[in-house]
Subunit: 456 residues, 4 copies
C-alpha cells in the first residue's frame, strides 16, 4: 500500500487515541460494524433470514480484510465501500453462500461510510470529553487559587492595567464552558444513523425501510434521522465548526502562555521535564513545545473547517467530489484538535507560575501601569478628558526622564492639590485597582459549579 503524508507526527501534533480511532483500520471496522448491525436489524425485521445475521456479523472484523487491495480497488470504484462489501461477501460466502446473498442488503456505499464515520466519532467523543473535563477542572482550580494574585494586564501587547492571574484563568475557562454546552447541544444532531439506500428512498426495502432504519439505529445506539442526510452535510460540518471554535480557544490559551513564557516576560512556563523543550544546539533553551503543537492546530483548523463548509454544496441525492473531500478533512481536524486539547490539559495541569516576576513586571514601567487609576481618581475632580490629558503629559515626562510616575505626579501642583501622598501610595498599589476582577472570577466559578452539578 502506498503511504500518505505520514503518521510520525501524530504524537506531537495530534491525539494518539483519536489517531487509533481514525486509522485505516478504525475506518474499516466502523464500516464493518455497520454491516453487522444491518444484518442483525434486517433479520429482526424479517427482511433477511434470521440465520444470515450471525454468519455475516462473524466476518465483520477488519483484521480479515486485505487492506492494500481495498485501497487499490477504491481508486477504481471511487469509494471504499464497494470493495469492502465485495471482500466481506466473499468471506461470508466461504462460510455460507446463502448468507452471502444478504450482505449489505438494501444499503448504499454512503450508508456504510457515513454511519461508519459516525461510529468513529461516537468512539472519539468520550476521549475528547475526558480531556475537556480535565482542562476545565484545572482552569477552575487555577482561577480559584489565583483570584488575588496580581499580574500585568496587557492590551495590544502593551502593559495596560493590573489584573489578577485568576481572572486570566477565568477568561480561558469561560469560553470552554460554552464549548461544552455547544457540544452537548450538537451531539444529538451528530450521532445519527445514515441509511437511505441507492438514492435515499430505501426503495429496495419496499415498505419496510423505516422499520429497518429504526432497528438499525437501535442496534448502533444512534438516533434515527427523519430522512437520510446523504447530501445534507450540516451534521458533520457543524461538528467541524465546533472543533474549529475549540481549536481557536485553545490557540488563544497557547498564544497567551507562549507570550508569558517569553524570556523577556517569564511569568508562566510550560511544565518542565526530562528531554522536554530542549534545543539541538542551544543548551540553555526551554522551548514551549506544547504551545507550538497547539498553535499548529489553531493555524490548521480554519482551513480544514473552510473545507468542510465548502464541501456542503453536494449535488442532488449524492455529491461529486465534495463528499470525498470530507473523508480526510474531518478526521484530520478531529485528531489535531483532540491532540491540542490533550496538550493544553497537560500544559495547564503542570503550569509553572512565577508570581515574583509578575510583581516585578508590574513595577517595570515605573508606575505607568497605574496611570488610569490616578486618572480616574482625578477624573471625578477635573473631568475625564482634562485628567486624561494631564496624566498623559505626566506619563510622557516620566518616560522621557526615566522617573517614576508617582514622583512626577507629586511634583505637579495641580495634581498634588487633589491627591496627597497617602492617596498616591494607595493609588499605586495594584491590589487597590483590581476593580471587579475577583467578582468576575467568582461569577465564572459559580457558572462552572452550576454546570458541573448539572452534569452529575
Amino acid at each position: 500500500m502506498t503511504s500518505g503524508a505520514g503518521q510520525l507526527l501524530n504524537p506531537l501534533l495530534g491525539s494518539r487515541a483519536l489517531g487509533e480511532i481514525f486509522s485505516d483500520r478504525g475506518r474499516l471496522q466502523g464500516m464493518l460494524d455497520f454491516e453487522a448491525a444491518l444484518a442483525r436489524a434486517e433479520a429482526a425485521v424479517g427482511v433477511v433470514p434470521a440465520a444470515a445475521a450471525p454468519v455475516i456479523a462473524a466476518q465483520c472484523d477488519a483484521a480479515r480484510l486485505d487492506v492494500a487491495a481495498l485501497g487499490e480497488a477504491a481508486a477504481l470504484s471511487g469509494n471504499l465501500a464497494i470493495p469492502l462489501v465485495k471482500q466481506l461477501t466473499a468471506l461470508v460466502a466461504r462460510q455460507d453462500s446463502d448468507a452471502a446473498r444478504f450482505v449489505h442488503w438494501g444499503a448504499t456505499s454512503q450508508d456504510v461510510m457515513d454511519s461508519g464515520l459516525v461510529l468513529q466519532l461516537k468512539a472519539a467523543l468520550p476521549r475528547l470529553e475526558a480531556d475537556f473535563a480535565r482542562l476545565i477542572d484545572t482552569l477552575a482550580a487555577l482561577a480559584a487559587r489565583h483570584r488575588r494574585t496580581p499580574a500585568v494586564g496587557r492590551t495590544w501587547l502593551q502593559h495596560a492595567l493590573p489584573v489578577t492571574f485568576g481572572l486570566k484563568a477565568a477568561g480561558w475557562l469561560d469560553p470552554l464552558l460554552r464549548h461544552r454546552e455547544r457540544l452537548a447541544e450538537l451531539k444529538p444532531r451528530l450521532l445519527v444513523l445514515q441509511f437511505g439506500g441507492a438514492a435515499g428512498t430505501l426503495a429496495s426495502l419496499g415498505d419496510r425501510g423505516i422499520a429497518v432504519t429504526e432497528a438499525l439505529a437501535r442496534e448502533l445506539q444512534l438516533a434515527a434521522p427523519a430522512l437520510p442526510w446523504h447530501a445534507a452535510r450540516d451534521r458533520v460540518a457543524e461538528f467541524a465548526a465546533w472543533l474549529g471554535l475549540l481549536a481557536g480557544t485553545l490557540g488563544k490559551i497557547a498564544r497567551d502562555i507562549s507570550l508569558l513564557m517569553q524570556t523577556d516576560v517569564a511569568e508562566a512556563f510550560e511544565p518542565a521535564g526530562e528531554g522536554r523543550g530542549g534545543s539541538s544546539t542551544m543548551p540553555h533553551k526551554r522551548n514551549p513545545v506544547a504551545c507550538a503543537a497547539i498553535l499548529a492546530t489553531a493555524t490548521r483548523a480554519p482551513g480544514l473547517v473552510a473545507t468542510m463548509l465548502a464541501a456542503m454544496g453536494q449535488e442532488h441525492e449524492r455529491g461529486l467530489g465534495n463528499w470525498h473531500a470530507e473523508w480526510t478533512a474531518l478526521p484530520e481536524l478531529a485528531i489535531a484538535t483532540a491532540g491540542a486539547l490533550e496538550q493544553t490539559a497537560d500544559m495547564m495541569a503542570g503550569l509553572e507560575l512565577d508570581p515574583v516576576r509578575m510583581q516585578r513586571n508590574l513595577q517595570a514601567t515605573d508606575g505607568l501601569i497605574m496611570a488610569e487609576a490616578v486618572m480616574m481618581a482625578l477624573g471625578g475632580k477635573l473631568g475625564r478628558l482634562v485628567a486624561h490629558d494631564r496624566i498623559e503629559a505626566a506619563c510622557k515626562l516620566a518616560a522621557a526622564e526615566h522617573r517614576h510616575l508617582r514622583e512626577v505626579l507629586a511634583a505637579d501642583p495641580v495634581i498634588a492639590a487633589e491627591l496627597d501622598a497617602a492617596s498616591l501610595d494607595r493609588l499605586f498599589d495594584p491590589l487597590n485597582y483590581l476593580g471587579s476582577a475577583e467578582a468576575m472570577t467568582d461569577r465564572v466559578l459559580a457558572l462552572y459549579q452550576a454546570k458541573s452539578q448539572e452534569r452529575r
Copy 2:
C-alpha cells in the same frame, strides 16, 4: 472619505436590510446607543450624576458626527471608538461641560465597539429570521404538495433511481430546521453585553463594576456576561460559523436548482420576471440569477468563517490585529448570507416546476433507472451479487444496442424464468419503486409541524 470595494453589488450579492444595519452609519449608531445607555445605567447606579445622562443621550445621534473625520482619525488611533468619544464629548460639552466629563465613563474602546456590534446583530436577527421562516414554510408546502411527484434521483450527477420531488424539498427543509434550532441555541450566547473597561476588570468603577454591568445590560436588553469577552471571541465566531453552515445549505439548494434548470434537464426554474436573467447578447437566455448570487455567497462564506476562526487567538487582555480582522469579516458574512437567504426564499416561493419533463427524464435512459428495482426483485431469488452482475450485463447490452432494458431482460431466459411480463411492467413503473420516500417526507413534515408549534 475614501471609498471601499463599493456598495453597488449589495442588491445582488447581499441583503439590503442588513446592508443598512451594517452600514457606516449603523455601526456608529450602535456605538452611540451604547454610550447613551452607559450614561443612563451609570446614573441609575449613582456612578455619574443623574443630570448627565439625558444630556449625553441627547447627543448620541450618528447624524451629528463628522464621519469622514472619524475615518481619518481612526487611522491614527487604531479604532473608531477613540475619535467617536472625542466628537461625542465635544458635542456634549457644547450643551453642558459638566455632563461632558462623564461621557464614556469607565468604558474602553472595545466595550463600545463590541457592544455596538452586538446591537447591530440584534437588529439584524429578526430580518434574517423572517426570511428563514418564509423559506421553511415554502419548502414545507413544496414537500407536501409534491410528496408523490416522481422525479429523477441523481447521484454522482448520474441518474440513479426515481425519487419524489417532495423528498427533494424535504431534504432541503430538514437541515434548515436544524439551523433554526442552532440559532435558537446560540442567541443567548451572542446577544451579550461587552463591558470591561481598560483591561477587563472595570477597575475605574471601583466596586460598582458589576452593578453597572447589570444595569447597562438591562438598558440594552442584552444578557450580562460572567466576565468581559474582550479576548474570548467564541461568541462572534460561533455566529460566523452558523452563517457559514447556513450559507452551505443555501448553496446546496442553489446548486440543485441550477442543475435542474440546465437547458439539458429543465425540470425546475427560478421564477421568471421582466428583465430577470436575460443576457446582454443572447435573446433566448434565461439565467439562474438567484442561484448565481446564492452560490457566490456559498463560495465566499468558508473563507470568511476561516478568517473569524483564525482571528480567535487574541493576545492577553486585548488582541492585536486579529480583533480588527473581525470588523469587516463578520458584517460582510452576515450581509452576504442574509442576502442569499432572501434570494433563496424568493426563488423557492416562485419556483416553477415541469413535472412532464421530470417524467420524460425518468424515461430517458430506456429503463436503466429501474435497474435496481429489477435487481432487488431478482436478488431475493438469485442472491444480491449474482443479480447485480446479471443486471449490470443487461444494462450494458441495452445501452450498447440502444434497446429498452425491459426488452433485454425479457429476452434473458434466466431472468424471464423469474420475472414474467406483468412483474416487469410493475417493476418499471417509478411509482412502484419509491420505497419510503413518502414516509420520509412525512417525517420531516411532522418535525416541521412540531417545531412550528413549539415556536408559538
Copy 3:
C-alpha cells in the same frame, strides 16, 4: 506507533509516487541526506575531520532508525530533528566515537527539516512534471483533433451558442501552459538550501559559514540562499499557492467533464474499465470516479493554501507553531494535487466523446441556440437593441408554443423582410457561427508548440 487519518485513500485521492516521497520514511531519509551532505561539505571545507564524513554518511539510512521512538520523542522535543540527531549520533558512535562528535555540526533542527523537505520536493517535481507534460500533450492533441467539432457552448449552465470541442480543450490547455511557466519561474526560488544554525547566523561555524553553505548546496544540488529563510516562508508558501492554482484548473476541467458526463448531457465520458465507476447497488451506474477524486482535491486545496499563507507570520528568527503547521499542510497538498493531476492526465487520455450526442444537444432547443446568430444578422439592419428585443420575443413564442425558432422567425414579416429562407438556413447551421473558435484554438496550439520547442 500511533496511526493518523490513514493511508488507505491515497490511491484514490492522492498520488502514490508522491505518497512514497512524503511518507514518514521519505521524510526521515530527506533529513538524513542532509546530514550526510553536511558532513561531506564540512569535511571538504575543513570544518570537521575528513575521516568523519564517510562514517557519518554511512549511517544516514532511514532503515536504521527506530521510527516509533522518533515519533514519541518528537512529542517532547517539539520536532523530529532532535531525536533523529540523537539516534544518528548513537549509530555513528557505535562505529567511531570521534566521528560522532561531528554529526549535525553547526546546524539547527530547522536546517535539517526544511532542507529535507526541499529534497523531497525536488524528488517530487519530476513526477509531477511528467504528468503535467502528458496532460498538456493530450489536451493539445484533443484541441487539434476537434478544432471543427461543433458542440454546445454553455454559460450559467444554460445553452448559449455553438462552440467547438477543440476550443473547449484549448481553453483547458491554455491555463496549464501558464502553470508550467509559473513552475519554471518558481523552481529556482523553491529548490534552495536551508542552513543557518541556531539563530540563522551560522555563528557556530565562525567565519566559515558561507563557505560551508556553498559547499553544502553543491552537495545537495540546491541553490544557496543569500541568507537562511527560517522565518521567511514565501518560498514554500509560493509553491503551495501554485499547487492551489493548479488544483483550481484541474477542478475546472473535472467540473466540466462531470457536467458533460451527466446522464442528461452525455457528451463526454471518463474512460470505462473493468470495475471502474460501478455502484454497489445500481448495476447501470457509471460514475465519474476520476472527476470525484479531482474535485475532492480542488475542494481541499483552498483551505490548505490558506493554512500555508496563515503560517507565514513566523516570529523573530524561528516561528512558534506556524512552522509546525506547514509540516502536514504542504505534503498533503502536494500529494493530493499530484494525484489530481495524474487522474486528470489519465482521464483526458482515455476520454470518450459522443459527437452525435453533441449534435443532438445543439438541436435540443429548437433553434434557440442560434438566436444570437440571427440577432447579429438583424442587428446590422435594425440596430442591436431592437433586434435583441424582437428576437427575444420570438424566442419566448417558440418556447411557449414548442415551435422551432426558424419557423417563428420566418413567420414574422419584419424579420422575413430582412432574412430570406436561404439566409435563415445558413444562420441556423452551427458551423456557420463559430466565429474565431478555430483561430483561437490555433493560437493556443501555436503557443503550445512554441513552449514545447523552448523546453527542448
Copy 4:
C-alpha cells in the same frame, strides 16, 4: 442605494488610493473605458461605422450614470454590465440613434466586467509598486545601517543567540525582493484583455474577431490573449495568491515589530505622532496601531485567497456564482494588502530603535544567550554532545542559583581546564559570536543592488 459593510475603516484597514480605484465609480468607469475602446477598435477595423466611435466614447463617463438604478437592475440581470449597457445605449441614443446601435457590439457582459477589472488593476499596480519600492529601499538602508548592531535573536519566542538588527532587516527585505520578482513575472499574465463575446468565440464578429481583439488590446494597452479566459481564472487567482504571499510577509514584519515593541521588550517602536496609538482610557499607552492594521490584513488574506482559488471551478464557458464571488474578494484583498503595504512602508520609515535596550536584553539572561558559543568552543575539544550536556547542566545551575553563566563555567574544573578567563571573556561578547550575520546581510544587499540596477 443600500449600503455595504461600510467604508469608514478604509483609512485604517485599507489603502485610500486603491479604495478610490476599486470604488463603485472606479468599477463603472473601468467598464465604460472598455466600451469606449471597443467602439474605437471596431471602428478602426471597420466593424462599426467610424462615426459611431466618438459619439459612444463621449458618453463613457461614470458621472452620467444613474448608479442606484444600476445596483437595483443588477439584482435582476445578475450582473452590472447589462444595465450599464442599457443606460449607455440610452445616453448615446439621445445624441445619435445610429451610433446607439453599435454600443457594446459583439461583446458580452463578462468582457466588459473582466476587462474593466483589469484596467482597475492596471491603475492600482503603480501605487502598490511605489510603496513597494519605498519599503524595499527603507529596509535596505536599515540593514546597511545596523549591520553590526547586536540584538537578541529569538526562536520559539525564547532568547536564542545574538544576531544583528541588520540581519533582521535583511531577513525582512529578502522575501520582498522575491515578491517584486514574482510581480514582474505575473504582470504579463494579468494585464490581459478579456474579449470573447457570448460564448467565447466572438461569433458575432464573424471572421474579424481576432482583428478586433488585437485592436482593442492596443487601445487599452493590454496584452491580447490567445483565447478568452472567461472560465480560466488563473490570471486573477494568481494575482490574489501573490497578494496573499505579500500580506503574509508584511504580517511577519508586523508580528516582529509588535513583539519588539512589547513593554517587556521595548527594542523597536512604531513611529510616534500626535494622536497616534493612544488609548481612550489609559494615558500611558502607545499602541502599535500600524502593526494592528497590517496584522488584520494578514489575518484576512488567507481566507480571501482561498475564496479566489475556490472560485476557479467555473463551469463550461462561463461560471455560475463562482465568477460572482470574485467581484468582492479580489478588490477587498487588493485594497487591504495595499493598505498594509503602505502602513508597513510608513512604519519602517519612521521606526524607532533602542540599541541600548537591545544590549540590556542581551544581558538579561546572565550569559545564557552565549551558551552555544561556549558549547561550540568546548565541542571541538570534548565532542558536541558531551559539551552540550555539560553546558546544559551549567545553564540549569546558573538559572536555579541566579548566577551568571560565566561564573558557573569558571567554577567547573573540566571547563576551566579548556577555557581560561580571557577565552571566556571573548566567548561572552555577543559581537564575537555573530558568525556570518554581516556576510549574509551583505549578500542580501548585493541582491538588492543588482535588482535595483536591473530595474533602471
